[in-house]
Amino acid sequence: MVISCEEVWREISNYLEGEVDASLRAAMEEHLRGCKHCTAVLDGMRNVVQLYGDERMFEVPLGFSHRLHRRLEENMPGNRRSFLGWMVAAAAAVLVAGSFEVARSSVFSRSELRSEHAQPGTGVPPDMMVVVSGDGKTFHAAGCPFIHDKAHIQTIQAREALRQGYAPCVRCMKKYLTA
């Protein structure tokens, strides 16, 4: 089967998708071997698909995720109160247990929390090394699956993380929050 350039162009996108049948594919490949123009079109199209398909093409504005979560918090149905209530209760329990050293170094001297969602972590040992990421709001134990933006992580002391307004991850730091 001999096909023209026009026919190749019409099917070239499907060809890239692997969506042409065997005989058409063979005819197109035969044509491409002898046609510089069509080969250049195919190469160019392949480049386009590869470049745009790369994750790096997605750029979101700085702080996008943070602002999105804030809006979500404002709009969370009823559950939000009980979650906050639980966090407050946990914080209170820790205070009552007499962890004044921790309280002094974290709650009272901390800068503003990075998120309303985040609550002060009062039971976390201040010397423990934890992981934070630039635009994250919480600090984590190394290896926690909920670390946000793994490309930009930093390991610092819990004391310092709290001072910078990070709050403990409610998952990997759970045992300290409920202690």
């Binding site: 386009v48 093409m57 709009n75």
Partner: protein
């Protein structure tokens, strides 16, 4: 000596979206953050593909996510959550544009005849471009500009299929068009982008000149 944490209470599990959605429906609303996290960028870029404006795209992305939260009970398990969310985002973006920017001019290419044949320009060979070039902001910028210059129907289709890697069927569903239309638009979008980018990316790669303004090849 820093205390070492060697084990986690909840080791990483395969992400079970269906279960997450069920639990959110049963009242564990805080899990919605987890559900949405992998898709935040996608929602934004879908909105951006339609609106071509960062501020509008962010507003619409937020609205779309809020809507998904609000209507999570209406989500039907036979669709993928990502497709459903993309559909919501597209609807929100279209509504936004109609409401707020009804008078904005659409590029002239929107009126192009989809069925008509398109002749790709006869440029010299475009050798493979290493993906590392995407580290360069000006390259990403040029790619974004080229995409923004496409008519909306081509842009939407291209973004969903080639940037967000939805299948042809999912793209058709999200846009409410046939798979045949998806293929036609995809072909056209890819050809136009190739024509727009070849002079710059293929030839004068080392210079800052990619393609001169106002010289669209079609």
């Amino acid at each position: 000596m820093p205390e070492e944490v060697t084990s986690l209470e909840h080791p990483a599990k395969p992400f079970n979206e269906e279960m997450l959605i069920q639990r959110i429906r049963n009242g564990e609303h805080d899990l919605f953050y987890e559900l949405i996290r992998p898709y935040e960028r996608r929602v934004y870029s879908t909105a951006f593909a339609i609106l071509r404006n960062e501020a509008d795209a962010e507003d619409v992305a937020q609205e779309a996510v809020l809507k998904a939260l609000k209507h999570i009970r209406q989500f039907r398990a036979e669709a993928r959550f990502s497709t459903w969310l993309t559909q919501i985002t597209i609807n929100e973006a279209r509504m936004w544009r109609r409401k707020e920017h009804a008078n904005l001019m659409e590029p002239i290419v929107d009126r192009q005849d989809e069925e008509g044949n398109y002749t790709p320009r006869d440029f010299a060979d475009w050798r493979e471009i290493p993906l590392e070039t995407l580290e360069r902001k000006e390259v990403r910028q040029k790619l974004a500009e080229a995409l923004a210059s496409l008519g909306e129907k081509y842009r939407e289709t291209f973004v969903l299929r080639d940037m967000q890697h939805l299948s042809i069927e999912e793209t058709a569903k999200a846009l409410g068009i046939s798979t045949a239309s998806v293929k036609t638009r995809l072909l056209r979008a890819r050809l136009m982008l190739r024509d727009l980018l070849t002079p710059g990316l293929g030839g004068s790669w080392s210079t800052k000149m990619f393609f001169a303004k106002g010289t669209k090849p079609w």
